[in-house]
Amino acid sequence: MKDAEAAVSTVGLTRDFGSFRAVDGVNLDIPRGAIFGFLGPNGSGKTTTIRMLCGLLRPSSGSGRVVGCDIAREGEAIRRRIGYMSQKFSLYDDLTVAENLTFYAGMYGLANAKRRERVDAMIALADLRGRERTLTGALAGGVRQRLALACAIVHEPEMIFLDEPTSGVDPAARRRFWETIADLADGGATIMASTHFMDEAEHCTSLGLMYAGKMLISGSPDALKRELTVAAGKIWQARVPDSIGFLDRIRAFVSGGILDAYIFGASVRVLACGARLPADVAGAAAWEEREPTLEDVFVHHVRSSAGMEGQRCDA
């Protein structure tokens, strides 16, 4: 029965700080085994939401369950069953690889035999066999990051929180990190990763975009891109000589129907309402349709939610 229950479910989760509503009626339903990407600008309420989910902060109203426990009453039990890896890995540089893992295992209260077994499993997971006695301070960035993950999950948590886990890590190490995360999710763990970076968001099975305390949209990366095409329009790209001059002209002479227009390297991109470009724009360059990026999705939803002009398509 327990397995059928979602890893995270909240109803109307709300938190006020004085007269400021940091989190405003958030409903979450994250199945076990999901890699949920939590997106949103700084100050949008992501951290406050995560603190409530970890049982560190009481909701002002609404309720939620994380790995089967009530977030308002069973914070202690939740914290034993989750792992947390922050952007600034909290590793001890003057301890060896094995010592860091043993330290974390001890902190989570793993007894001797279990502790040895888990430390060993984590050394394998982080691919650090043969380097158990290396001082952590001497490890390269990508390797430190794998060790930090291993420390965060040494107690076999059912749920893992990650905060911009691969910020600044080289692309090969980053790809490898997300493979490990995918394996953990396939093994039944649930992942919640908060990030600003669309590179990271692409690795998630579902995403939620938070803005001004509210969850604006959620769905898989592909579904969100498709939804943008249906609800707003398509992305078109063209190479033009003076891209800024071109964009200014488009903004000046177009009657409507362009939701977003921006420079993309040597090209310009526009998000246009519906299936076709307005005739005056269509004739101005050799346009090719492109798949929307998650950044296109993010920017469109944040801008329309902020009530910025020109973010709606008139029928």
């Binding site: 600008p41 960035g141 080289d170 790809r175 420079i263």
Partner: protein, 302 residues
């Protein structure tokens, strides 16, 4: 405008740069792309002229005679370096005096830049009370107050949300159109795509350089994209002959040899036999695909 020739930098016995060469043409938006520790900041500091290479040369030809070349360069450091207890306008006024600008010129230039960055309504707000994106835009405004020919920025998009990041890039493109050459560092592939030319730096060496299109066109393999809702698809593709298989959420990217023309139908067949319902198509490699390959083979060189 900038010429870097076999630049090395050692800090004690740590090698930050191990023989880097490239040119930046006037008018480019040039990207220095790479992970933390690749040597990006070291390289930018050399371009700005505050750090000398251990061997090799880094020349930024600005301002004609070269004597006051630093005055012709604007630099935005990775960490916010303005005065948090001064307002936006006070910060700009202070910088204009440091640059020795006359008051009337400083006022009109400040106004122009506040308009460009969208900060005009917030002139009296303390810098310490600005959001990350606004701070970054203020730092840019301060760095170009004296109309430099070259603007160097160290990771302006890091820690900034996508909406602000897009605003920042729009400011950079506008300055560029006004004649400013831009050199910008980033660890992120989506920002790399925004540059007109770039170098990919890894462990102090240049592994790739060119326009984003050139770099992607040189990629010798094909990428097949599998979109499915079936979990563990990546693992179940382990026995499909390929160079690499990696998952992005529910999407799996399969890298196959460029010469392998019928890989796509074979992959479709393989999935069908495994009972995995999926959309499969061939997609253009991204800069990330190229850099993963370059970083993996670069590991042996380093």
């Amino acid at each position: 405008m900038i010429s870097v020739r076999d630049a090395h930098k050692l800090y004690g016995n740590v090698r930050a740069l191990g023989g880097v060469s490239f040119d930046v043409e006037r008018g480019s938006v040039f990207g220095v792309v790479g992970p933390d520790g690749a040597g990006k900041t070291t390289l930018l500091r050399m371009i700005v002229g505050v750090l000398s290479p251990s061997s090799g040369t880094v020349d930024a030809r600005v301002g004609g005679d070269g004597s006051d070349s630093k005055r012709r360069i604007g630099y935005v450091a990775g960490r916010f370096s303005l005065y948090e207890d001064l307002s936006i306008l006070e910060n700009l006024a202070l910088f204009s005096r440091l640059y020795g600008m006359d008051a009337a010129r400083a006022a009109s230039r400040s106004r122009e830049l506040l308009e460009l960055t969208g900060l005009l309504p917030f002139g009296d707000r303390l810098a310490g009370r600005l959001s990350g994106g606004m701070k970054q835009k203020l730092a840019i405004a301060a760095a170009v107050l004296h109309e430099p020919e070259l603007l160097v920025l160290d990771e302006p998009g890091t820690g900034v949300d996508p909406v602000s990041r897009r605003d920042i890039w729009s400011v950079l493109y506008r300055l560029n159109r006004g004649g400013v050459t831009i050199v910008v560092s980033t660890p992120y592939m989506d920002e790399a795509e925004l540059c007109t030319r770039l170098v990919f730096l890894h462990k102090g060496r240049v592994l790739e350089s060119g326009t984003p299109d050139e770099i992607c066109d040189r990629f010798p393999h094909r990428i097949l994209r599998v979109r499915t809702d079936v979990p563990e698809t990546r693992r179940r593709l382990a026995d499909f002959p390929s160079l690499s298989v990696s998952s992005f959420g529910r999407t799996v990217r399969v890298v196959v040899d460029g010469a392998d023309a019928d890989a796509l139908p074979r992959l479709r067949e393989h999935l069908a036999r495994a009972g995995i319902a999926a959309d499969v198509d061939a997609v253009r490699p991204t800069l990330e695909d190229v850099f993963v390959l370059a970083a993996e083979s670069g590991r042996d060189v380093a």
